[in-house]
């Protein structure tokens, strides 16, 4: 699974301008390539298709406790 090809340099310029972030000339081009490959890598996450509907970010704190160390082997 890959992310939609949303990051052209024009799209980056518009998105950042909308957030009040000014880019140096030609920077958007490099940023578009880099961020598209990061978003592709993220979207290719093999656990993504099975992500539970009710999984939420704070659930991670409970997972930390659930997975905590058992006593090390003696």
């Amino acid at each position: 699974m890959t992310a939609a090809k949303q990051w052209s340099s024009e799209a980056i310029d518009v998105a950042l301008e909308a957030q009040g972030i000014a880019l140096a000339p030609k920077r958007a081009e490099r940023l578009a390539a880099g961020q598209q490959s990061l978003l592709d890598a993220s979207a290719a996450d093999p656990l993504r298709p099975a992500l539970e509907f009710d999984a939420d970010p704070p659930g991670f704190m409970l997972a930390l406790v659930r997975c905590k160390a058992r006593s090390p082997s003696k």
Partner: protein, 451 residues
Amino acid sequence: MNDPAALSLAQAAQAVHAGKIAPHELLQACRKRIEQWQPRINAFVSLEEHPPHQKEGPLAGVPLAHKDMFYRAGKVSNCGSKILRGFVVRETSAALERLDSAGAIQLGTLNMSEFAYGPTGHNEHWGDCRNPWNPDHITGGSSSGSGAAVAARLVYGALGSDTGGSVRLPAAACGVSGLKTTWGRVSRHGAMPLSHSLDTIGPLARSAEDCALLLAAIAGHDPRDPVSSREPVEDYIEAIKRPTRGLRVALSSAWIERETEPEVAAAVLAATRAFQFRIEVEPPDFDTLSAQCLVVMQSEASAQHARWMRERPGDYSSAVRVRLEAGYAIPATTYLEVLRLRAAWLERFCSTTLADADLYLVPAISARIPTREQTGPRGGPDMPNLLASLTRLTRWVNYLGVPGLVIPCGFDSRGMPIGLQLVGRPFAEATLLAAGHAFQRETDWHQRVPA
């Protein structure tokens, strides 16, 4: 007693406790080392002594110094930046309060990457921190001064922060021990934030035993940090004395041989022989986990810096500005989906990689330590790959929120340190420290000092 600067933190604390040495002798030894080394390595940003609030305690009279992002009321925290140069803070950080209560002396503040957002130790505002083993090479970052100062024996230990490897990279590059703690184990109150879902605080010191002493002082719940854990704190000092003969260590030897530079692979695989029970496992999906860590880190860091990025972008170094710009091009839905996936990844790591093991062993850095020039503003076309190789084996640990201990395990043919990394389940700091301590009882890599 010979040079007191040669003592470990544990030995120094014990010597003070037993009345065999006075705190001022430790201070004098550290000051002498600082005078010698500071012009060569630029580890300190400020030298200002903060005597302890009390003279008793497990760290009584032991000189430490910390990354310049741990706030002390009424004092300056520059956070490695131009933007916060001269920033006087109002509150003392929880970690410093706890070290004060343990009797430690703070000798000053240490160099760091700008806003803790860089893996090499370059800093155009405060000068690069330089590696004591060879000043042409990077210290690793972002806790660059912490790694360099401990390696050069300028202080007995230091605090760092770790969001994507910032404690473990300088520990590996400078040949010291460094512990990335479980997310929530140490309060981040009063420490400069970078990425709230990933930020952790941990010690860098001369040995795993020294890290245990520092962690014992700073770990524990703090209501002022909203993600501070209420999990009970183990007795780390007792824990490192546990027998570790039965400890089961998972590793992926074939992956290490295939994916890391030969000298790194050789040193790390040789080190694994110190652990009796080794289990070969499939490696975690480092690259996916690393990408997910980067999505979280970029999104949160860019949100944290949004006002300054709008109002004074020219006051950032170009390297940090470029990293921050990237975060504004991550959709909110992607960021939140990556956070929703985090628990599933943690459960997978614990139920597969660690199914039959107590910890997972992997190199800290897959390549030999590069030079400052190779990774700096004038770095060649290989620079992006070099930078990626630095954090490839550290970021995944932050995404999982688990603890990771880096200890030295050898030197490459150029005399630069090589570090191995032990990664455990959440809150398994005691197991990691016990394993590290056992390794260091059998080896002397951690006792080597740069000339």
